[in-house]
Symmetry: C2
């Protein structure tokens, strides 16, 4: 039994390291999103540039987690829930890396819309969407850390709220563009920024699915309640 | 040695099954992209609906591959290149599922822009971008099937061509919108369709990275040559 205990302990210690790395990476990604939104709302080019530069650290963390996870599987040969946990960590790292990319994309846009007039009401809506998105990210990383399946399901369900807010913002920005063609370029920037936030929400939902799988061993099978109805909005407004 | 041989053979057979499943899934995804583009260019609602409905089969394949891969790791406990191969298959399945989602998104737009005037020149450009994207997808799946690292690197590098074409299309569609504000809604649809194609190209590049990792055991480290300069275009045109 001593050998088994030793093996179990060695695996547990590896798993703790991996969990710590994921939480650290999650913290970096959350910070990137906050900074990108600050840069956008305050039209702060310098901050936008820092967000772009900081993305490399997130990419490096993903690679480090991946290498370590594969090493853990190879050396410790975990099975059942232990194996699922490592696989879930791999998936979560992939999702976080993509969220980092989307935050970087918002940072990039800051550099080009800095000097343009940003419609106050739309900016308020985008700020609200960003706050909800951050809360989803925070909650889902919490659910991962605590194996909290109920919280993961909650995040998964709440994505529909984000999608609804995204759709209403989309409609509002589009109205502005149609009323004043001089705002078409700034409008497109803002449409892509809101789309990036909506996609960050989708990635948080993917993390929720990974947590569900990790804890239960089953997939969250049902079609996610999707609320992105922007193509309907476009159809209605073009009539 | 008999036991080892037996184990190796059982693993090889599992791996063959997984590889076959990935190629089948890749075939489905390619077909979805072709069908979505046909639906868009021929304004074929019925075909658009079929694309939307067929996405569920792709999601199911991803889950099946994932379950089987995890089972294979648990039962066969592969190490080194064998383990990398299973991990790479997991990653490729994730990328293909996302490409499927993007093709579905194009299908959804067909239902709403069917009756609008589509600018002939932009549609020609989008068709060209779709053809290049499909070629990338075809090549990268080929590189995965044959462990062809040179071909994977080629796909990875060629993504810059797609990005350049995407940027020039973006500029063209945006010009149209600014010249004739009545085309703003159809223009936004087309911008999102071209963005979806550009993102499919990115996912093909992610698959190329997975193939590189699978064969070499190392990550394709250098920053990918990115050519999406649409924020620069917007800045230049808003001046």
């Amino acid at each position: 039994m001593a050998l088994v205990d030793h093996t179990a302990t060695a695996f547990d210690s590896e798993l703790q390291t991996l969990s710590r790395m994921i939480l650290e990476m999650g913290g970096l990604v959350e910070r990137q999103l906050v900074e990108a939104m600050e840069a956008l709302t305050k039209r702060d080019d310098e901050r936008g540039r820092r967000v772009i530069a900081a993305d490399a650290a997130i990419d490096a963390m993903q690679r480090a987690i991946e290498e370590r996870a594969v090493e853990t599987i190879a050396l410790r040969q975990p099975v059942a829930i232990d194996l699922r946990e490592v696989i879930a960590i791999l998936r979560i790292a992939t999702e976080l890396e993509r969220i980092g990319d989307l935050a970087k994309n918002i940072g990039k846009r800051v550099l080009t819309i800095n000097r343009e007039h940003l419609p106050r009401q739309s900016m308020h809506g985008i700020g609200h969407l960003a706050t909800l998105t951050l809360a989803q990210l925070w909650d889902v990383l919490d659910s991962a850390a605590n194996h909290d399946i109920a919280k993961a399901i909650e995040v998964w369900k709440q994505d529909a709220d984000l999608d609804r807010l995204y759709t209403s913002l989309f409609r509002e920005i589009l109205s502005g563009m149609m009323e004043d063609p001089g705002t078409v370029t700034v409008g497109i920037h803002l449409l892509f920024c809101t789309k990036n936030l909506e996609r960050i929400g989708d990635h948080a939902t993917n993390i929720a699915e990974a947590v569900y799988y990790m804890v239960s061993g089953r997939a969250l099978l049902h079609e996610r309640p999707k609320g992105d109805a922007t193509s309907m909005v476009l159809a209605a407004m073009s009539g």
